[in-house]
Amino acid sequence: MSTPQSGRGRSRGAAWKRWLPTAGIAAIVLYCLAPFYWMVVTAFRRPSDQFDNFPVPRVWSFESFLAVFEPGTGFGRALLNSLVVAGCTTVLTLVVGVSAAYALARLQFRGKALVLALIIACSMFPGISLVVPLLGLFTELDWINSYQSMIVPSMSFALPLAVWNLTTFFRQMPVELEQAAMIDGCTPAQAFRRVIVPLAAPGVFTTAILTFIMSWNEFIIALSVVNEQDMQTVTVAISKFTGAQGFEQPFGTQMAAGVVVTVPLVVAVLLFQRRIVAGLTAGGVK
């Protein structure tokens, strides 16, 4: 604890201090990536080498990936379903969320704090207390096995985050811009559409990525409101994955499926990491 006073001690301490953060960084990266690496490596092993524990596949093979997309697994269809559900959720959430966030960031009106609190409170509800009644409701509406039965509830998880994030972004923009536009003869709505929306594009984009990742990863709703294989999303399909060959435990195929589901997200995260971090810390909400 006491700082070394002698010159030699200090220089040794300095060297120690210099490589310690680097070692720490290495440890963190290893901690975060090792399990993911193991998934990728397993996916590239031959099914017969599945239980080989050598850190690199001895023979690289795409057999597991081919097995994932074999007809009968329904995995391609599940990917498409996820794309539709997550895509629609993202677009709808942004359309709805942008206007709400603008109102919360710019307009002065009574009950603003209450509205904000309500929206935040919505992100705290446990999914299951929504799923049970929604399941009953959707059964009556004949919405079971439909896209909307997954999209609409997903919006309830995505909207609070989107509104919260977008509000922060809008507030960071100087009000003078809109005022100038309004002096030039724009109505508030026009000022918003022509000045704010284009300028807020980076914030909207960040929110879009976060929303997409969130709804792509959604599980409990998709698991509950769908019972046909054709309508399953990837997260549900993968949890029920037994592989096409009918092994006892087709881990190779499962890991390959996991890689297919995850790699687009990981690529997006690597590309946009700066923005994602900004979005996550601005919202403070998962």
Binding site: Y31, L33, F36, S99, L130, F219, S239, F251, V266
Partner: protein, 336 residues
């Protein structure tokens, strides 16, 4: 803005009148615009959050009819059951399973959040000190967060397979997938892996707001590393950390995907309240499921309330600063 302008003596009353009226109509216009802009969001949230909550509450008082009437036909519809489902859960037939789920949920929440905070804090401190490799860490740290929980459940099931890498590394023959404490440990490890980096990220954001001068002053005063951490870093990063804790606790309480995929359904050692409610719902016992879901909701609300009350102004203050513009925030940091 207009309040500061003094009224001119010539015809001032009339002009002020007009100004007042215009101000009032503008305020009314703003409120109407706010209403128009907010209504889609409130409509969606009302439809998919508030309606289901009320509906679940109602449903929890009813039971599905599966009796036959005098002529031998199945009676359709529901029957009022009062608090029957709640009594069943707390003290009746379902009590053992219910309390087990409550215990599991609570145990998972406390252990994972404590571990996440300790690990996340350590990660944040390392990242804060490091000058090289920051982008690499920031990208790496997001990977566990980006992997869908269902997929990470599968991934850890593979790692914890009987012939899997975990047993090889440990040199043990633990049957992780069997029902028991080892399954709980597997769930905890997987959950902490996924979320500790996230806590680290939020904590790092808090650390970066602390001005360097504070540390320099402490060094001048002769405070050692540990004391600087205890007396400067910890108190100043506390608001950010508490927000992270609040969201993590609420998230951990509704844990579902991970134990569901990693260990499986109806495993006593890892069944959480969410899983229990889901199980009942899929067995078309909506009344019982709704009762569990309502209890779950009350539990989460109570914990959220207690946390905000207990941690008090810090969390509320942090939430408020997050609402403010970044400009204000950085100015405050300098003042502090």
């Amino acid at each position: 803005m207009t309040t500061g302008t003094a009224t001119r003596p010539s015809g001032g009353v009339r002009r002020q009148d007009g100004r007042e009226r215009r101000k009032r109509t503008r305020a009314a216009g703003t409120t109407r615009l706010a209403g128009i802009l907010l209504s889609p969001t409130l409509l969606v949230l009302g439809l998919v959050v508030f309606y289901p909550l009320l509906s679940a509450l109602r449903q929890s008082f009813f039971t599905e009819n599966d009796e036959l009437d005098a002529e031998g036909f199945v009676v359709e519809g529901e029957k009022f059951n009062g608090l029957g489902h709640y009594f069943d859960a707390i003290a009746g037939d379902g009590a053992a399973r219910f309390w087990n789920a409550v215990w599991n949920t609570t145990m998972f929440t406390t252990t994972t959040v404590v571990l996440e905070v300790v690990l996340g804090m350590a990660m944040a401190l390392v990242m804060h000190r490091a000058f090289r490799g920051r982008a690499l860490v920031r990208a790496g740290i997001l990977v566990p967060w980006a992997i869908p929980t269902a997929v990470s459940g599968l991934l850890w099931r593979w790692i914890f397979a009987p012939d899997g890498i975990a047993n090889v590394v440990l040199g043990q023959q633990v049957v992780w997938s069997a029902d028991g404490p080892q399954a709980q440990l597997a769930v905890i490890i997987a959950e902490v892996w996924k979320t500790a980096p996230f806590v680290g990220l939020l904590t790092l954001a808090g650390l970066q707001v602390i001005p360097n001068e504070v540390y320099e002053a402490a060094v001048v005063d002769g405070a050692g590393g540990w004391r600087r951490f205890l007396h400067i870093t910890l108190p100043l990063v506390k608001p950010a950390l508490l927000v992270a804790v609040l969201f993590r606790v609420l998230d951990a309480l509704r844990m579902f995907d991970l134990p569901f995929v990693l260990v499986g359904q109806q495993k006593q050692s890892v069944e959480t309240l969410s899983m229990l409610a889901w199980q009942e719902a899929t067995n078309v016992r909506y009344g019982a499921a709704a009762a569990y879901a309502t209890i779950m909701f009350l539990y989460v609300a109570l914990v959220a309330f207690a946390l905000v009350k207990l941690l008090g102004t810090d969390v509320v203050g942090e939430a408020r600063t997050q609402l403010r513009s970044r400009r204000v925030r950085s100015r405050e940091a300098v003042v502090a």
